[in-house]
Symmetry: C2
Subunit: 346 residues, 2 copies
DNA sequence: AAGTCCGTGGAAAGCGCTTTCCAACACGCT
DNA sequence: AGCGTGTTGGAAAGCGCTTTCCACGGACTT
């Protein structure tokens, strides 16, 4: 069944030229080939249905056309938006995207970078926040070092902690501005669905939010910070704890949109209305948000654009290793947040 | 900067064994190697930080570890859900997923399959509906034939039109059952946001819906079928046409969920309430649906599962070329559809 | 007329790995 | 002692391509 593939050698022979000449015609070599031979080679190649073997080319050239993309969960709109940006740039540069998903397992992350290294991927975009786990970070950093030592370029979308090019969203300042905006609406008691305690992006956003409250002379008591998974279901589950905590909060900030969406659903299940009984805000501005009712207030991040930026960092020819692209977040207050009217979450 | 990579030959030399022995130890060869040499090779490999060159292995073995995944738009929840299923299975089989996005351009689709073929990908999952464009289909079919002739396996998620293994959702019967369900709610006048006229999946769903109406003795006048893009914005834009058409429909069926979401937003913009003024239903049951208010009625497809099924089809050892896995759709009536109370879209 | 240079084609040496084939040796038999 | 048989190590031939290096002519100098 498996028909032998047409090789360059066959094309060369059939066209009556040397291997070298055939190669020069069929790839973008700088060397000139006379019009006559060129035509002949091109013709036979087409006639025989020649397709270069990418593995052989990669081996001979010592460089591949592969770009790695590592995300936690491709079904999460946050990551799929970034992925769309990365693939757009990579594909328009004639490269091929290799997708790896970690399921938020740091070991898997290291494993993926290793695999991509084995494939001699020319570049690598790692999306998704690091955690406070030092040993995991160290092992990832080692892999990344090996990857760059091999001539590959790496960019991260998240914290600039790994000595690579990085696209870093304004987690702190965005959350801070959001806090001020919510305070300006009249809220005085807040609760935060803070995600996992060891996730840096979650910590940054929490810290920024606290700072924003402090700007307004407000504070966030410890009991008002609920930890949970960084997912829609995490946000949903956290609401039970939130209500049990009897915080009296009139406004809930979830450190990302999917958590906020889960929380809104859970609040509804508990018979609470948003924003009449409690206001809710998220972070990221994932695309699905615009079809939510009430529309979710959030901090907008240009997700696809961030993916594009990361891809560009990693594909340009600049030789300036650790560059940082800061991306601003824009506070967008929508219908899910309103002037506090009720008594909040007693 | 680019440090030379450690090669098998170096490991072999350092360990004082032949290339062959080193190779046998460091990959899953069937050949035995004595415990002593084995240890020695493993030790030096670790010490030197040896990592096999995947391109070289692919070349020597004439087979790669790559699995292609072709989707229209990775940011669309429909595709990202399927992608999550495919990557899960592929990665658990130790394979590497190559992601290609077409942006719904048939030429790009062909191009991607070609690229994947050049990389000697061992398998390929193509998600996304075909169109009625015969010449595009033919060229894709040719590429696919070449791919399989080369020993690769291909599965499609959509219509079983290409002679490959296929996972086909119950578009017709799902839409038909949905139509009956909506008629049972009391609706008599319907409108359909039918997507692009040349997209097979859209046509199937429209046809199924009509059949379901016919079962109930109802029909769908031509003026009640609005065409538009198969996207959220397409659904949004179609609503203006829909309203202009003065169909008197009390229920709108959009042939996929993202269109239905766009339509709901547009209806709201026009001051129409769902479901009080008009009921809306979609198709697919993308994950984001459960956080919509009102919750969208739809036909549930197990999207991640479909991705997994496709991946399994393409990765098992069965030698039964064109198999078809039919996936049932389950009608899920939620809050976006109700007994018709108003006068509908006059 | 001799010397230079450039443009072009081909031979061949790799790239890093797998795998066939052969040699060597240790057994267990008759 | 002689002979299969089975096990293990190594030499070497590829896998399909790129690229260096050399050879050859013709066009130009001087």
């Amino acid at each position: 069944m498996t028909s032998r593939q047409v090789t360059l050698a066959e094309v060369a022979k059939e066209a009556g030229v040397s291997l070298a000449t055939a190669s020069r015609v069929l790839n973008g070599s700088t060397r000139q080939v006379s019009e006559e031979l060129r035509e002949r080679v091109l013709g036979t190649a087409r006639r025989l249905g020649y397709l270069p073997n990418a593995s052989a080319q990669a081996l001979a050239r010592n460089s591949s056309v592969l770009v790695g993309l590592v995300v936690h969960d491709i079904a999460d709109p946050y990551f799929s938006s970034i992925a769309a940006g990365v693939t757009r740039i990579a594909e328009s540069a004639g490269l091929v995207v290799v997708l790896g998903t970690t399921g938020r397992d740091p070991r898997r992350e290291v494993e993926l970078v290793n695999t991509l290294r084995a494939h001699r991927a020319r570049a690598l975009v790692i999306a998704g926040s690091r955690t406070t786990d030092r040993s995991a970070s160290r092992r990832l950093a080692e892999e990344i070092t090996a990857f760059t030592a091999q001539g590959g370029r790496v960019a991260c979308v998240s914290q600039a902690k790994l000595g690579t090019d990085t696209v870093v969203p304004a987690n702190r300042s965005g959350a801070r501005a959001l806090a001020r905006g919510l305070a300006a609406l009249g809220h005085r008691r807040f609760a935060v669905l803070a995600g996992p305690p060891d996730l840096l992006v979650a910590r940054d956003r929490l810290a920024g939010f606290k700072a924003g409250l402090a700007d307004e002379g407000l504070e966030l008591p410890d009991g008002c910070v609920i930890t949970s998974d960084f997912t829609r279901d995490g946000g949903h589950a956290a609401v039970a704890d939130l209500i049990a905590a009897r915080t009296g909060a009139t406004c809930v900030f979830a450190v990302n949109d999917v958590m906020a969406m889960g929380a809104m659903a859970a609040l509804r299940d508990h018979g609470l209305r948003v924003p009449e009984d409690v206001s809710v805000a998220g972070f990221d501005d994932i695309p699905t948000l615009r079809d939510l009712v009430p529309a979710l207030s959030t901090v907008r991040l240009p997700l696809e654009d961030m993916g594009e930026r990361a891809a560009r960092l990693v594909l340009d020819d600049v030789v300036a290793p650790p560059r940082t692209v800061r991306v601003a977040g824009e506070v967008v207050l929508r219908a899910s947040t309103a002037h506090p009217s009720g008594i909040g979450l007693r």
